[in-house]
């Protein structure tokens, strides 16, 4: 363990929600001496211990630059969070940022060997599959998704980090796989999807879904930076709900459609940039992709504080008793 006052943390993707929350939490924590916020634009939290360093992971020579920076600042913990929260049409750029960007980061870390390396990932890397058990543990295969570059770039990044962990036993490598994060401030694929008044339902299918509240997620990331735990961890919320119940709680209008229609329609809407979710996302409305958070509770000391219902209502901005009274009124 490094001397407590001098812990230096470098965070890529400082402008993402989790990056920003982490900066804010590290700023308040006296154990950390210095925080390097690496991103293409300065995050809101700059000041105090937080220093902004402009770094573009899509640049080919960024690894040398980053290695020098890590060496000079004597970075103790590296947090790699430069991942996209929603799919983009600029797939080439996304690939450069997520897959190749991770390679640059690992190249830099291989030389410096920071004490700790934390990566932000998602449970979507398991992929929605009819063969998935109800609770995917961390040992489950990373199936990804056959035609989703959004998911597959993250799978490739994770595989690189796994290889790095094997080759560099001096660095504690910790990967956090977050369930879809919902909350009042975060913006990602799921919050955009659920912000629409209508939502597609695959006719006759109703998989269970799982979310984690944004504050729980930020807390988990802080725990991961603080602790010495290594390996992959599923960071999930409390409880599951069927997709149609989620829509009912949100008051969205479900539009049941046959799979073929839904796929063609989404293809057109995605190509014309009218919706933010690609056709491959429909598989997550067909099959289970729910992870088990037991390992995080055991080894990371993280247990979610908010239930899935509370998370959904907080995302919606509705007081919890609201829906309940409404339902009671409708029944009686």
């Amino acid at each position: 363990m490094a001397p407590s006052q001098s812990r230096v943390v470098a965070v890529t993707g400082a402008c993402t929600f989790l990056g920003g929350e982490l900066l804010r939490r590290l700023e308040e924590d006296p154990r950390y001496g210095r925080v390097l916020a690496l991103d293409v634009r300065p995050p809101a939290q700059v000041g105090g211990k937080v220093e902004f360093v402009k770094l573009d992971l899509t640049q080919p020579s960024v690894d040398g630059e980053l290695a020098t920076l890590l060496q000079r600042a004597n970075v103790d913990t590296f947090v790699h969070g430069a991942f996209l929260a929603h799919p983009t049409h600029a797939a080439e750029w996304a690939h450069e940022l997520e897959d190749v960007g991770t390679m640059h980061v690992l190249n830099a870390c291989a030389g410096v060997e920071p004490r700790r390396f934390v990566m932000v990932s998602t449970t979507l890397v398991y992929g929605a599959n009819p063969k998935n058990p109800n609770f995917l543990t961390e040992d489950a295969e990373l199936r990804g998704h056959r035609d989703s570059r959004f998911v597959n770039d993250k799978v490739r990044a994770e595989r690189q980090v796994q290889r790095f962990a094997k080759e560099h036993p001096n660095t504690q490598v910790c990967v956090l796989r977050f369930a879809p994060i919902l909350g009042p401030t975060i913006s990602n694929l799921y919050t955009r999807f659920f912000s629409r008044v209508v939502a597609p339902v695959m006719m006759g299918h109703d998989p269970l879904m799982q979310f984690v509240h944004e504050q729980d997620a930020a807390w988990a990331l802080q725990r991961a930076v603080d602790s010495d735990a290594t390996g992959p961890f599923n960071i999930v919320g409390k409880g599951v709900l069927p997709y149609t119940t989620v829509l009912a709680l949100l008051g969205r209008v479900p539009v049941p459609m046959p799979q073929i229609v839904a796929r063609q329609l989404t293809k057109v809407l995605w190509a014309t940039q009218l919706v933010g979710s690609p056709p491959s996302f429909l598989d997550f409305l067909l099959y289970l992709c729910v992870a088990d958070g037991a390992r995080a509770r055991r080894e990371l000391g993280f247990a979610p504080r908010l239930s899935i219902k509370r998370t959904i209502l907080d995302f919606l901005g509705v007081a919890p008793e609201d829906g309940a009274t409404d339902i009671a009124r409708a029944i009686t």
Partner: protein
């Protein structure tokens, strides 16, 4: 759940349309009795009870601590910055929207268990199972005393019929006639579990996809799990093969029992074969619509969807004495020969139970329906 009943913001009707974000402290006037921002400081929450006057103030430790914890929690919450994503603003017909939410939640509960069983949905289908159990199939269940009142156990039963009515009846028998009224979690084959409409309904009333990881987790939690090791082959049994048990899978259920030290309770179901006598099956178009075959019964597909209704045969369900495998130890699960032998023994036992029940019926043809 404690986190579900915390009052976060007032349920004010007036801020549904207004520009006020309930997280912003100045959105509404302070209620009488509170002292405004000065006292509540960082909170900005108008639902907090007013701080008592010094005269009637008495140290109340437990409550005080709870209040401090509540303040800490709110402080934590306050760190979430107010951000103008107020989705309600996108829905101008607020009253309609509220009514819609209430209607959409009808018949479903906002809490389901880990495997997706919805208590309210289960209650909604209860009458159907009760009708099938008591009136339609007139199920005669025996040996229920062998089912433990608590703790894990693995029910192993034979399987027949075009639709899994037999698993529903085993479930309902334990829920209705067992003194502990336990819930059985049947493991459902993939083909049925992913059938449109039927799969989600089965999941809501307690069915779980047949997966070793799921079964193990359920047993670890001390649940009653029902398996039908014949699986798809059992359901696709033709009329001429009725009451002849098929191969018991690859003995996965024995491995499961050995690993989790759960007792195996053999269950024989008689009557399901006559409820939907499968005369033949068509496979050529079935794969295209995602099912392994299209059954041909005396009523299906001739009567359309109504042909899927079961015939009113008389059913017998017998629960056998539990078989304890615990003394073999979890290592025995890797012994393939042993696993296969145990699976075969259990299969023979269930076959004998079936033959016994068939012998009880008065005559082989009409008796299937009259009992």
């Amino acid at each position: 759940m404690t986190d579900d009943d915390d009052p976060v913001v007032g349920d004010g009707e007036e801020d549904w349309f207004g520009d006020a974000d309930p997280r912003v402290p100045d959105a509404r006037p302070w209620p009488e009795g509170s002292r405004g921002l000065g006292d509540l400081g960082f909170l900005g929450d108008y639902d907090t009870p007013p701080i008592p006057e010094p005269a009637d103030y008495a140290p109340r430790n437990a409550e005080g601590e709870a209040a401090v914890r509540e303040l800490e929690r709110r402080l934590e919450q306050q760190r979430t910055p107010a951000f103008p994503i107020d989705l309600r603003k996108r829905l101008p017909l607020e009253a309609v929207w509220r009514r819609w939410r209430a209607l959409a939640m009808w018949g479903r509960s906002d809490v389901v268990d880990d495997f997706g069983r919805d208590p309210r949905a289960t209650a909604r289908w209860e009458w159907l199972f009760e009708f099938l159990y008591a009136r339609w199939f007139r199920v005669h269940a025996t040996g229920l005393e062998h089912v433990p009142a608590h703790g894990r156990a693995l029910l192993v039963a034979n399987h027949a019929g075009t639709l899994p009515y037999d698993s529903a009846m085993v479930m309902h028998a334990v829920r209705r006639d067992h003194p502990a009224r336990r819930d059985v979690r049947p493991l459902v084959e993939d083909t049925v579990f992913h059938l449109p409409w039927l799969g989600p309904i089965m999941n809501r009333i307690g069915g779980v996809r047949a997966d070793p990881a799921n079964a193990e987790r359920l047993l670890e939690h001390g649940e009653l799990v029902a398996v039908f090791p014949e699986g798809e082959k059992g359901m696709g049994k033709l009329w001429k093969d009725r009451y002849r048990l098929q191969r018991f899978g690859r003995g996965g259920f024995v491995k499961l029992a050995l690993r989790t030290r759960a007792p195996i309770i053999p269950v024989a179901v008689v009557g399901a074969e006559e409820a939907a006598p499968m005369l033949g099956k068509v496979t050529w178009f079935a794969k295209n619509i995602g099912i392994p075959w299209i059954p041909v019964t005396p009523t299906f597909p001739w009567l359309g969807p109504a042909g899927l209704l079961p015939l009113p045969s008389k059913w017998f369900v017998q629960f056998g004495a539990p078989i304890e495998l615990g003394d073999l130890g979890p290592g025995a699960a890797d012994d393939r020969l042993l696993v296969n032998r145990i699976a075969d023994q259990i299969r023979t036992q269930i076959q004998n139970m079936i033959d016994g029940l068939l012998g009880q019926r008065r005559s082989p043809v009409l008796a299937a329906f009259l009992g």
